[in-house]
Point group: C2
């Protein structure tokens, strides 16, 4: 009775003072050992907490998001269901528009123009942000352990834990050095805003150092040798930006050393931009040759020392040493240490990213999702489920499938196993019935062996998604939409038939829609590969690039700043102050 009367009072207070609700919610949400921070209380009041918990309808599900990159930002931006209590943990309190990072390295665009504070993005939502690194996930106790990312004079690093109902891992990846010795110590990466700013300083440092009177000619040549390892889109774009920066701006300011500058791209494969159409690769290689950018394909870097890079030429097997002034390492991504630890913990240690199902749920965990560069979708094979599919489709349990029975599950089958749709498309078949017909002409009924053999080639169409901003952003938005309609879809599932179980999946599985990809090549020229294998190269594509990037920026502030940066560059050139 006493408990009830307290609850009655609490409830009354709650309705009389609406601002209390927020306090209550934070209090409830942070139950597992955390302290409420809104009211300034340092110890939880048990009676009060009980009262709140009794007030069941207020209990929000707690969603913890790790990371504020493309996936995390896109999730936070799209989530609009107020019934979640969202906590975000990330070492960066901002989202960075990473496709413009190469532009930041040379000051074509300023770093501040491409970042937006996460608190601005989530301002109108009930989201708590914590600037920290999550160093451990306890999937059993549903808890994440975090450590402040600050190393200032404010005293040792703060540690805390947050419990969750749903965990969303969107921590991204790190640059992959393939254990090449010396890379961490001597080369620059180009993954974060800090990296880009360091590169910018370093480029100017090289020019200033080369301008000193005591530097020998040989040393000057070495200092002004810029080496880019990796001929992917990032490396190529950086090389192009650097070439423009040197030729359009620095050559005028450093006339005495400009002739010593050399830019080299080292690529282990046979071509740069190998994920693009061959026409783009060829155009880029020709343009770089005209620009005087030295392209060394088939060169594998085996060691990076303080002043020289050792490579192995694949064709001859010889080792070649290149003296260099600054090196940028951009050869692809690998898993972050925290993600590796978690992978070990859940028995996924043999993989290069967290493995999820088609709904982005981490395989082997409950209520944990992973998206973006730290995750990879493990598409289920048709062959694994072939017996279940057959038995589910064979409604009359006759042991054979009729075309009609089959057509009833075609839609679900294509949704559940998208490789099937691609297979049909590639084989230019209109529907599943054609597939069966080709293997056994004009037959109306097929048995399981025939069915299996008809579908045996389908899984060869499976492809991993690329580790791009586009994929991450689509995954974030997809997952937020699932969370937005969680209750609704719980009651009316909208996904495909469960072939191995009963009923339907709650949600449609994630499907990536490719909108094309750009490769800026410098000199106001860009190559673009758009859907339908449409290739566009040249100055007009640069303007398409400007338009698309400006429109994709995350806020009006960043949009205006980036556009005015581009204008500033056209009028005044890039700034070469060493800040």
């Amino acid at each position: 009775m006493h408990g009830y009367s307290f609850y009655g009072k609490a409830s009354k207070a709650f309705h009389q003072y609406p601002s209390l609700s927020k306090l209550l919610l934070v209090f409830t949400a942070s139950g597992g050992g955390l302290l409420a921070i809104t009211g300034g209380q340092t110890s939880p009041n048990p009676a009060y907490a009980d009262a709140v918990q009794a007030h069941g309808e207020c209990k929000k599900k707690k969603v913890v998001v790790l990371g504020t990159g493309w996936a995390g930002m896109s999730f936070l931006k799209t989530l609009n269901n107020p019934s979640y209590d969202v906590h975000v943990v990330s070492p960066h309190n901002y989202f960075a528009f990473t496709p413009l990072l190469p532009s930041v390295t040379c000051g074509t665009v300023e770093a501040r123009s491409i970042v937006e504070p996460i608190r601005c993005i989530t301002k109108k939502k009930d989201v708590q942000f914590r600037e920290a690194v999550c160093y451990k996930i306890d999937a059993e106790k549903k808890k994440v352990f975090c450590r402040s990312s600050q190393e200032t004079n404010l005293g040792g690093k703060e540690e805390f834990s947050i419990d969750y109902d749903y965990l969303i891992i969107a921590m991204g990846a790190k640059s992959n050095t393939f254990n090449t010795p010396g890379v961490e110590e001597h080369a620059h990466f180009l993954k974060s805003v800090e990296d880009a700013l360091k590169i910018r300083q370093s480029v100017i440092d090289c020019f200033e150092r080369a301008s000193l009177p005591s530097v020998s000619e040989e040393e000057r040549r070495r200092i002004l040798h810029f080496v880019i390892v990796g001929g992917g889109p990032t490396g190529v774009e950086f090389a192009a930006e650097l070439h423009d920066f040197v030729n359009e701006d620095l050559a005028k300011l450093y006339p005495t050393v400009k002739d010593y500058v050399k830019i080299t791209i080292l690529e282990a494969g046979d071509h740069i931009l190998n994920m693009f159409d061959k026409r783009i690769t060829a155009f880029a290689e020709e343009k770089f040759q005209r620009d005087g950018i030295d392209l060394k394909t088939g060169s594998m870097v085996v060691k990076v020392a303080e002043k020289e890079i050792s490579t192995k030429v694949r064709a001859t097997g010889q080792f070649v040493t290149l003296p260099y002034g600054m090196a940028v390492w951009s050869t692809g991504i690998g898993p972050r240490a925290e993600v590796m630890d978690f992978m070990k913990q859940i028995g996924q240690s043999n993989r290069r990213a967290l493995c999820t199902d088609e709904w982005l749920r981490v395989v082997g965990c409950d209520n944990i999702y992973a998206l973006g560069d730290c995750a990879t979708i493990n598409q289920r094979r048709v062959m694994e489920d072939i017996a279940s599919i057959f038995s589910k489709a064979d409604k009359d349990k006759s042991g054979t499938l009729s075309i009609k029975e089959f057509q009833e599950v075609v839609g679900d089958l294509c949704e559940r196993y998208p490789q099937l749709e691609i297979y049909l498309k590639n084989k230019q078949m209109k529907n599943m019935a054609d597939l069966l017909k080709t293997s056994q002409s004009e037959s109306v009924e097929v048995d399981i062996e025939t069915f299996t053999s008809a579908l045996s080639e389908v899984d060869s169409q499976m492809k991993n998604l690329p580790a791009t901003a586009q994929v991450a952003a689509q995954q974030g938005a997809y997952l937020a939409n699932c969370f937005n309609r969680m209750e609704e879809c719980e009651q009316c599932p909208e996904g495909p038939l469960r072939f191995r179980g009963v009923g339907r999946h709650r949600f449609h599985p994630f499907r990536y829609k490719h909108f094309g990809q750009f490769a800026p090549l410098g000199g106001e020229q860009t190559a673009a590969q758009l859907p339908g294998d449409w290739i566009s190269i040249g100055h007009s594509t640069q303007w398409l690039w400007y338009s698309v990037y400006a429109s994709k920026l995350v806020s009006w502030r960043t949009r205006i700043l980036v556009i005015s940066d581009w204008g500033r560059r056209f009028i005044f050139g890039r700034d070469s102050s060493r800040i």
Copy 2:
């Protein structure tokens, strides 16, 4: 004969290929052990060098400028006589518009908007810039020794020397800690762009750290306590900027911690802004009180620890300890280590800045000039020269001065000893004759004793110039104008009569013209003290401030950037991303 024929050929080549001239000049100029860097030659060619030296009319005087602050930049910008070979040595390859540094600390203006590369400023001139620190000056051998300021992975620091014909020391000053323990380790300074950027990060760090759930209420209060030591214009402007940043931007993004923020100014004197008119001081103190900025005057800081600042309250003699999260130290300036070393070397070790005469020439050195914050003008006293003045004025050597004789030297006297003019003005006398009359009524002739006693009070009017950008910029421009007209004035001296010597001084001595001073107080309000003791306070003065600062910026690029930053701030607020 052989020598002549070589010269003939060289001369011919020189006229046929004008671009060679630059090469030749650099070669000549860098004769003293330095290598020519233009032609890419690593060893000087003696015959060639001889030939060039023989070509006497080409030999330019070598001017070495140390520093690219207000004084150095102003000198370089104003110098337009092509007969000097100018070398600039500075650890920063840019000029920073320092009056806007407090705005950079909170992102009202971006750092890049207030800097301009020195190479851009001197682009059209024959100026060599070296990014290095001058660590030693050898006045006897006319040489400066420099060390590269880079600490990157490019290998050890480069060292080199440059010889000079004229040396211009404009190295500025450093923040003065008055040997207070812990200041260097725990407090921020606000002298450079780097300082301002660090402060900006640190403010956001404090807010992020205070937002962590594990931080106790007491700790949160400590972390968000911002302490500014020193109530001068810089400290006051920073406090005002920080208050605006917190209230206009951060309060919205950090609603849970905003009530813990506290800003305190510690000032050892009785009032803040004590170099301004009392009305301005009073207005600022009242405004800060309304804003909730805690003003602790009469508090001397005795120690800065990691988490607390110890002060001594002058009135009571008690020691008080304040827990703090971030401290900014802005109590004035002291000499830099390199300048101190040089001062010791030339026997000026008991002073706080390099002592120069009224023509900015370092006392005790030949062809060395010092200007800006690293220098102070040692104005010659009338009393030191009173006998020489009397004898010079007494043309007929009668032992007494007539009013007429006296009036002939009045102009020169006032120019050489500006304190005399101030004295006359303060005493409301029209000319020097009045001065003599007051001491000895209606007398037509005065003897030396009377003359001495009439002028005995004059030297009390001498004042040191403040260490401001305005003074430094005027000194730089003054000196450059002297250098521009060096030959001209050698032949026709334009300065005042040499009272202790023969003839006239080559140049007019440096005279500072005060154009007023601003004190921005936040909330779009500024106080200004303009010439003629005209005081202006309020919103309209803020617009005056905007106009003056925009017009004073060093280039059209920075002007447009700063104005667009102001606009950006009005529309979107300040960015709180932790970059």
